[in-house]
Amino acid sequence: MSILIAVVSLLGTIAIFYTCKVFYQKFKKEWLTPMLITPLVIIFVLLLTGTSYDSYNAGANILTNLLGPATIAFAVPIYKNFSLLKQHAFEIFLSIAIGSAVAIISSFFIALVVGLNDKLVHSLVPRSVTTPIAMDISNMIGGSPTLTAVFVMTTGILGSLLAPIIIRISHFRSPSAKGLMLGMGAHGTGTSKAFEFGELEGTFASLAMVVAALISIVLSTMFFPIFEQFVMNILLP
């Protein structure tokens, strides 16, 4: 029985995802993005049938598992566009370093201001990095990796929905500005969105995502604990 649920979960997730994709491509409405509709439909089905997340995930985690090799696969667009990367190395590095610091500090402060508990705060801090890395960081700084995975996803979905609006009101025209903000602000989901704008935007977003991951590991595991100590003991004793 549990094997059956696992198989149905895996195949069902794939089927629902591609059905949503067809609708999204047909009607071209941002809020119809498969990233938003697929989880909602699946959650609805799970609640309706009384299936637990564990038994669903026993099959569906094959998909999560593929994030490992998929992260490695980003070496391909980076290799192909390496001359572009070298040409823009300084801009990429500086904007992503600033973006990563802002992501960590703003998540931390806003979470404190709205009064979330410790576990939630620490699970929110790594939210703008791609899932496998965010989960590792969360574990290292005392958050909950599964909660972080949910927050990373929410960031990806909301970030991709907000990005076109931000691009319009801020008049970002260059592929580098658009790609970097998408890869930094909404990681993998943002990168997919950036490829909808164009090949160059997508490449910049891929680079942003990888650089953000590396910088965030350093910032959140080495500097964040010191920063947090400082804020908690000196600013808010």
Binding site: I14, F17, P34, M35, I42, I43, L46, L47, Y53, Y56, A60, N61, L63, T64, L66, G68, P69, A70, I72, A73, F74, A75, V76, Y79, H88, L94, S95, G99, V102, S106, S107, I110, V114, G115, L116, L120, L124, S128, T131, I133, A149, V150, F151, V152, M153, T155, L158, L162, I166, S170, S174, A177, K178, L180, M181, M184, T189, S192, V210, I217
Partner: protein, 122 residues
């Protein structure tokens, strides 16, 4: 045929992941094995130790279907009843405000640096 080839190539990426994980564990690095694998693959391609054709199809398949792999983690939310109430609204608020700030800052920094470079060149 193309599918079989892609699957074999994804197998190669899993080997790199395994190597990356092993390196992280042996050297006690705080970096996930997947990122080490990414850097390793990049170096192998850059130094022409492996050919792009050996992994291009599989890598392309994974990258084009990337969104699908994030879905099961998102469903994890159903295990956190507390997130369906006030806490959830607060969390969404944190994410929305922080995401807007991050994207504005990153975009403006990138644009400013690029314009400055163009100004210097002219």
């Amino acid at each position: 045929m193309k599918i079989a080839k892609s699957l074999v190539q994804i197998g190669y990426l899993y080997i790199l992941l395994f190597i990356g994980n092993s390196i992280a564990r042996l050297l006690h690095l705080p970096i996930p094995g997947s990122i080490i694998g990414l850097i390793l693959l990049f170096l192998l391609l850059q130094f022409h130790i492996i050919k792009l054709e050996w992994i291009e199809l599989g890598a392309g398949l994974l990258l084009s279907e990337l969104l699908l792999f994030f879905i099961p983690s998102a469903i994890g939310v159903i295990d956190y009843d507390a997130l369906f109430g006030v806490q959830g609204v607060k969390v969404v608020l944190v994410i929305v405000v922080s995401a807007i700030v991050v994207m504005l800052v990153t975009g403006y920094t990138a644009q400013w640096l690029e314009q400055r470079k163009k100004g210097n060149a002219a």
